[in-house]
């Protein structure tokens, strides 16, 4: 089952990043919906694994498909969806996953049946030009660094919160994690689409277990609040640096959302977060017995 979790994780990313890479808004939106369904499959598979007393991790081996035409991307995605089919378990959940994927495969096949859908893909061309906006090199550089920094962070947050949500019995914690996951999905989508516009779309790097096996939830949340503050500052700086009304408004909007994330995280601090034993499988007393340098 852990293997199917890994494959589903890779498929979620493949569908989401294919969506980001495509310019056609209708196809982009439809594929993004499918990526969210794939993410829910991940969540349900993780629940079944934990119920069965098994574990899973966020290791992955995938490469992002970087092609120059929409049809090539869709063909590649089709292969990836087909490859997972025989690995689903023969359970109610396995049946649901197969049914959803069959519908997705039909949609992908229908796209390939109409040559008018085949558009050039510019998401990987590294041109670093943002639509028709007249941004200076300095502004593009700042935007590029921001997008790499924050797309990784949002991916990390989605997975870390999902890992913790799967392991909590506290209703309020579960609800806060749900909101934070949804928010990070939206940010990841926004930043992924912006990276594609700049021609620098890339997968966020893989998460190491040290990032998601949380041994001290309170410390994690406090560090998370500090990170949100740093992200707010980056948004503020970027908003003032980029002399474009539309982009500045967007970063102010993201900045305000980060403020509410902090409020949500502060709610976590009000819950019983001393019960973090279930969230770790590492012996951290031994782990931290290092030497100062």
């Amino acid at each position: 089952m852990n293997q199917i979790y890994k494959q589903k994780h890779e498929l979620w990313l493949a569908i989401a990043f294919t969506s980001f890479a495509i310019n056609d808004e209708k196809i982009k939106s439809k594929l993004y919906d499918f990526s969210q369904i794939a993410f829910r499959h991940m969540k349900w598979i993780s629940s079944e694994l934990l119920l069965a007393g098994e574990n899973y991790n966020y290791d992955r081996e995938m490469q992002l498909c970087k092609k120059e035409s929409l049809f090539e991307l869709i063909e590649d995605l089709k292969i990836k969806v087909e490859a997972i089919q025989n690995h689903y378990p023969h359970t109610r959940l396995g049946s649901r996953c197969r049914s959803d994927d069959a519908y997705l495969l039909e949609y992908l096949t229908s796209l390939l049946g109409n040559e008018q859908n085949n558009h050039p893909i510019t998401a990987f061309n590294r041109e670093c030009i943002y639509e028709e906006k007249n941004l200076s090199k300095e502004q593009i550089d700042a935007l590029t660094l921001f997008l790499f920094e924050e797309s990784y962070k949002e991916y990390e947050l989605v997975l870390v919160y999902a890992y913790m949500q799967a392991r909590t019995d506290d209703v309020l914690q579960f609800s806060v994690f749900e909101d934070l996951i949804a928010e990070s999905h939206f940010h990841l989508k926004s930043f992924g689409n912006m990276m594609a516009k700049l021609g620098i779309l890339a997968l966020p790097r893989e998460l190491h277990e040290m990032s998601y096996v949380i041994h001290d939830l309170e410390k994690f949340v406090r560090n998370g609040i500090a990170e949100e503050e740093a992200a707010k500052e980056m948004c503020r700086e970027l908003s003032s640096k980029i002399k474009d009304e539309e982009l500045s408004k967007f970063f102010d909007f993201i900045n305000e959302q980060e403020s509410y994330h902090i409020a949500l995280m502060q709610r976590l601090l009000e819950t019983d977060i001393s019960n973090e034993a279930a969230m770790t499988n590492l012996d951290f007393d031994e782990f931290w017995s290092g030497v100062d340098i």
Binding site: D59, R126, C128, K137, I140, D141, T144, L145, F148, E149, Y152, E156, I200, A202, R205, E206, L207, H208, M210, S211, K219, F220, N223, A226, A230, E233, M234, E286, F287, W288, S289, G290, V291, D292, I293
Partner: protein, 151 residues
């Protein structure tokens, strides 16, 4: 090769390449040494895996939850020393430190964390060779990114 190292300041095609495709990122299945450098204040870490026979660094990987400067330095440093002698790697640490002397305080802290993680991995290898039982060697950083206002 050392002459080609560029401090990640501003954006150029080489830096962009490291951002889009960090080299030697991830884990090794059966490493000879594992080291971690951790900033306890911010929770940031770099973990380093090395595969060595004591003379040559045959393979290596790193992973981090840190910023893009850390990723770029890690990618460059691992690319630089992979397949080379340990002595070369040790000399590279000093040369890289010299090169970074003009970089921002934050970049120096990030680079220091990468280099410390590598040193920790080599220490773990040495400890294991000397019969010590140690899953990984951990070094706690004294300087924290969190102190820097230009994050």
């Amino acid at each position: 090769m050392l002459e080609n190292i560029q401090v990640p300041e501003g954006m150029n095609p080489e830096i962009l390449e490291h951002l889009m495709n960090p080299q030697n990122y991830g884990k090794l299945d059966a490493p000879s040494g594992v080291g971690v450098a951790v900033d306890e204040k911010s929770g940031e870490y770099v973990i380093f895996y090395v595969q060595t026979d004591g003379k040559i660094i045959d393979d290596l990987r790193f992973a981090t939850n840190g910023c893009q400067d850390t990723v770029v330095v890690g990618s460059m440093f691992t690319q630089m020393i992979k397949g080379d002698a340990i002595e070369y790697a040790q000399a590279s640490i000093q040369k890289l430190n010299d090169k970074l002397s003009g970089a921002s305080a934050q970049q120096q802290i990030c680079a220091d964390m990468v280099l410390s993680a590598f040193i920790a991995a080599m220490q773990n290898y040495e400890n294991l060779q000397n019969g010590k039982t140690e899953e990984m060697h951990v070094l706690k950083m004294k300087e924290s990114c969190e102190n820097e206002s230009d994050i």
